[in-house]
Amino acid sequence: MEQFFQFVDNNLILLYLLAFTVMLGFELISKVPTVLHTPLMSGANAISGVVIIGAILLLRRAESDDYFTLIMGTLGIILGMINVVGGFAVTGRMLDMFKKRKTKS
């Protein structure tokens, strides 16, 4: 318990940030029309590929002879990159169906 409060005090602003980010996430999505559910899911999925940054950081710092890290890290980069590039591309394709402009006033 003590530890928990310690953590709260030390990371106070971080907690605010987390709470606000969650609310922002909710707020952003709350009024999306059903038809955008899938593209939105896909777009969010692409963003979750941000984990690739961790893989890059790891790999840049890895010893050049630490092959486990190098190989696994590279694998991580490949996977993350598929998620990012594929995710954005596939979202873009889904959204192409909304290309037609409204002529409404």
Binding site: L28, H37, V51, I53, A62, G86, F88
Partner: protein
């Protein structure tokens, strides 16, 4: 100063994510939103790549290779996939993101093990969580993909009382996490075992959920991937991973809830009541199931069509929906859609029934097509909206000699690209016979009183 450049790049990236998601939630701005998110990701990756951390190995070769391979594969996969298989693709991508998080955690755990350094309980907790969440997202997504693609059936991957198994696995996984944290550092073998457990749990988690609910599950797993990215962000004290991950986690969660709402189900119901799931979302006749469509999807379909044809029937009269129908017509026309009405000679209950109603709603005569005109216009029609008609669009009239309507000329609505049927139930019409049209692959049902449905449609179209 350079450090703040990196931080600023991350901040910009994070803001791009936020604004990107915001724009993704409206059809008008969605494409730009996607580009903006991608731009944010690009900036963050670029900054991470070029920032001079000082004398470190960098390993640019490995990195470049990995990025080229991954990027190329992702691009190809995304562009080759069939329009209809997109959800499967998203599911795979999501799984790979989870796998990436798992790898990161694994590497860190191994480093702890090999170095033998102690990391502190909170660091271990963060690593373990990353592993757990990433693993569940990974195997869960892969199974979801297999199910969606029809490669795996529920019965192949479930056992009786599967939910009990799931609860046991969940307890084991959480227990394992706590257990690992008691070692500092834990041995790599222990970690590998724990990882295996997590991977199994992810698979088992998704196993009992019905195929129709897969989109909901993917969305949920997507928020898991987001959370694993966030916890990984804690490992590296990296704000954009943290913020981006949390954002996706929150957005994914609420999106999951919204998707459940759109299907009139609760999330709990989807996850736990997995067996036989999807039944309420479909209406079946023996082996056949009629697809349903949500009002907003129908609205989009009509709004972005070139040509729409209404097929009014007796239900239009019963619902007294003629004026709302005309309102939808006006809204569509205001957006350049070509709108026509196909009047079957015996639609309704008296000669000229539809004419009387549509005249009341002031539909100009030139928009009314009779049977022959309609049938020749239908192949070039993007969407047909059947408003409370039934017998007059029954394909049995053409191909089922045993049917009492066999031989009656009908509107060949199946020649059009899409068919939306507005009626209250699966009940038959005047002739009292079932209509195969409702199970046609091009058909989706929008159940409800025609007036209400059209009113909602009008509302949705106005919001587009």
């Amino acid at each position: 100063m350079l450090a703040s450049a990196l931080n600023l790049a991350y901040l910009i990236g994070a803001l791009a994510f936020v604004v990107g998601i915001r724009r993704l939630s409206s059809p008008d701005t969605a494409r730009k939103g996607n580009l903006l998110s991608a731009f944010g990701m690009g900036i963050a990756i670029l900054a991470t790549l070029v920032y001079p951390f000082g004398p470190i190995p960098n390993n640019y070769g490995w990195i470049a290779g990995g990025m080229a391979v991954g990027g190329g594969a992702g691009w190809l996969a995304a562009n080759r996939v069939q329009m209809t298989a997109m959800p499967q693709m998203v599911s795979i991508f999501n799984g790979l993101g989870g796998a990436c998080a798992v790898l990161l955690a694994l590497i860190e755990f191994r480093q702890l093990d090999t170095m033998g350094t102690s990391a502190g309980i909170s660091a271990l907790l963060v690593l373990g969580l990353t592993l757990l969440i990433g693993a569940v997202a990974f195997t869960g997504s892969i199974l979801a993909y297999l199910k969606l693609d029809g490669k795996v059936w529920d019965s192949q991957v479930t056992i009786p009382n599967h939910s009990v198994l799931n609860i046991v696995l969940l307890i084991l996984a959480v227990g394992g996490l706590v257990y690992i944290c008691t070692f500092d550092p834990p041995s790599f073998g222990l970690v590998l075992g724990y990882m295996a457990l997590c991977l199994v749990y992810g698979f088992s988690f998704v196993a009992p959920i019905g195929g129709a609910d897969m989109p909901v599950v993917i969305s949920l797993l997507n928020s898991f991937t987001g959370l694993s990215a966030a916890t990984a962000g804690l490992i590296y004290d990296n704000q954009i991973m943290l913020v981006g991950g949390i954002l996706v986690g929150a957005a994914g969660t609420i999106l999951t809830v919204l998707m459940c709402q759109a299907m009139n189900r609760s999330l709990f119901n989807v996850i736990i009541g997995g067996f036989g799931g999807g039944a309420s979302a479909k209406t079946s006749d023996g082996d056949q199931v009629a697809k349903t469509v949500t009002t907003s999807d129908a609205a989009i379909q009509l709004f972005y069509a070139q040509s729409v044809m209404f097929v009014p029937g007796y239900g239009l009269a019963v619902a007294q929906a003629q004026k709302v129908c005309k309102e939808v017509d006006d809204l569509l026309q205001a957006n350049g859609v070509d709108v026509k009405y196909a009047i079957h000679p015996v639609a309704g209950r008296m000669p000229g029934h539809m004419n009387v109603l549509l005249a009341e709603a002031d539909v100009p005569y030139p928009q009314l097509l009779d049977l022959d005109e309609a049938n020749s216009a239908l192949p070039n029609t993007d969407a047909v909206v059947i408003v409370g008609a039934n017998d007059v669009v029954n394909p049995a009239a053409l191909d089922d000699p045993g049917s009492p309507v066999y031989g009656m000329p009908v509107l060949n609505v199946w020649d059009a690209k899409n068919i939306i049927v507005l009626k209250r139930s699966m009940r038959p019409g005047y002739a009292g016979i079932q209509n195969q049209l409702f199970f046609h692959p091009k058909t989706s049902m929008l159940f409800g009183d025609a007036k209400d449905s059209l009113q909602e449609l009008a509302g949705e179209i106005k919001n587009l």
